[in-house]
Symmetry: D2
Subunit: 216 residues, 4 copies
């Protein structure tokens, strides 16, 4: 199942427009903050499908029966571009455990590139709900690699795969390589094109560079 | 129209449960942060009914047609308990103009109290969408007074009245004193009872004291 | 005693330069954030002169003897311009109690204005350390009025009076009207001139308007 | 040169005491927030020794000559425990470029462990001021490895090495392996002991686990 949040009206579209805007991007504080706010919105939307139980809470004036989360999802992200987006999820799910995975894009001299997992710091995920977020879903290979790395540490109950800006091809790639029963896909905007170097068009450029500076 | 966000499952209920909990309340940092997160959720939900227009945005790699907010709502709140809740709205609507109103509860020796407007710092609201938020909607008289004060500065296009925790009587009071065509009401939890001093039961106690310390 | 933080080199000067800059001011998110960061810096500097005691803390691996604050200062501010500045103090002193005071500048038809206290929500301050902060210290009359209002609720042990941008005349006014034994003054920049309407020159304009929108 | 910030009184000691406290640590939101606040304090202290130039700034009411940072330092950190600490630096140096390095502690069956660099995303650092921060400085080998990785990408003008909690042995290790002309060391607390597994005693436990959950 694929949920595209930009299909309805909301302030999410404002943030995506600012993320895309080559002028506004120059303010990296705002760029990161927009990703953080988007992460919060996705966190909230996904929270609607999580499991709750009613608990009795003692207030200063009485007793209330209120629904609380049964368990917090594990929050996984892909370095480095996913970090500000992940922060938005962590703001909303402050008790969550986390996983960080690096999927490095190695550019070859012939113009092609390959993606490798270099680093994975993964908490216990067996039978847990996992949210795997990355800012961009371009070719889809980083996301699929990160997912495979994740599930090598345990079998999640379910995984929510989230990207702020995605490409149709990347979405197809994910759907092709991961069983649809295991995941739900959540996207901000979905763009149609991609460059030969797997940058989304019109997209927003290189999210990692914009958030943290050009790589050496 | 009244929207009660706690009627569906979401992390909003988790935050409300923490706000209510007499033990968790002792951490005023978390108390304020929960109100801020709630403000963000309401800001997002209300953003679905605001007006957008499509604008052409130049990205580093192309041109995107993206919906953006036509105008930011004015964010009004009631002092002091509304401040952390208002901050959550301002986080989401960073370009908004703001209004601050104080509605002071004066306790009389006979145990009754009256509510007066003492301070109002109001930006231009004529023909604008306004969000008027307060943490609690108990008797409803502060909210109605603040609304009357607001509209004495101009006639808003529409006003969204928001409270994290409300009482059924207070909601009825607002509906009785403000034309239903002028407002939409958004609530977190709605409780049934109220003390003689107009504290919501089970509620969460005095939101201002919990966020900022007991008044002298 | 007057401490002027901008007299030494630090990132504080960068924030003050951004606050002053008529172009950068247009981003009210950054304007408020710069005030918040300044508040944090002042909070830290003032924390050096507060009282600490050594407490034994049990870590997961042993016992540490560490200094902790004996008591948190009360954080008072003046509405509405002081709010983002105050937030910076509250970020650092999360357990503090707070006071909010409104000192309204009433402009008369003849071009003069008077300042009145309209609203004061003050926590217990008797024998406590108080930090009274406002973004601007122009003529000094708001600050002195707010201080008088504060001490009408109790006698603080000591009060730290803080302004991000001040005027020499305003500083003299404060020193003239409050006993030097009762207060310590902490300033960011200190400017030499003031308009007839008591705006600091070069200053930064109207801090309240820049943070929250022009008043009606 | 080694600067130990906890040697003087300040709110920094309060945060370190909360980070150490096995009870308070259970709130991972507060744990991360304390690291973020510490990062802000170190960012500010280090900003005193950076280079500034005076620039003319046009305010709404005049012209001000104000000192601004000539260049922002590059902010480098070690994954994953350094992330919340790094966030505090980024809050203060919002225009900085960043570097992320993972130094993985591989535990061997015989109880020993080795540290390897797995991932390095490094921005241009040639002739720049670099701040390399990690939450803990235990044996010192992660910090030295990360530094060596960094300088393999270029020669910084100067590097500030920062740790919230350090061990005397680790500090000696850093001083032994990096030329004292190239670095300045900034520390929160400095503890005397270390376990065979290189955990600082009394320390605070495993900072990565406390911030982000136990590794699988």
């Amino acid at each position: 199942m694929v949920n595209v949040l930009s299909s309805g009206n909301s302030i999410l579209n404002q943030y995506i427009s600012e993320l895309r805007d080559a002028e506004i991007q120059k303010d990296s504080l705002r760029f990161r903050y927009n990703l953080e706010r988007l992460g919060g919105i996705f966190a909230y939307e996904i929270s609607r499908v999580l499991a709750y139980e009613t608990r009795e809470v003692v207030t200063p004036l009485g007793i209330a029966n209120v629904p609380v989360l049964i368990e917090y999802p594990v929050l996984a992200t892909i370095l480095r571009a996913g970090l500000p987006f992940h922060q938005g999820f962590l703001n909303f799910y402050d008790k969550s455990e986390n996983a960080f995975i690096s999927a490095f894009r190695r550019h070859h001299k012939d113009g092609t590139f390959s993606i490798n997992i270099e680093y994975a710091s993964v908490t216990e995920i067996e039978n847990k709900v996992v949210i795997l977020c990355d800012t961009m879903l371009a070719s889809g290979s980083s996301m699929v690699l990160a997912y495979k790395e994740l599930v090598s540490h345990g079998k999640p109950k379910h995984t929510h795969i989230v990207a702020a800006v995605a490409n149709v091809e990347g979405v197809e790639y994910v759907k092709k390589h991961i069983s649809k029963n295991d995941i739900t896909i959540w996207l901000g905007a979905v763009d149609d094109e991609m460059t030969a170097q797997s940058y989304i068009v019109p997209g927003l450029g290189d999210a990692g560079d914009l958030a943290y500076g050009k790589k050496h």
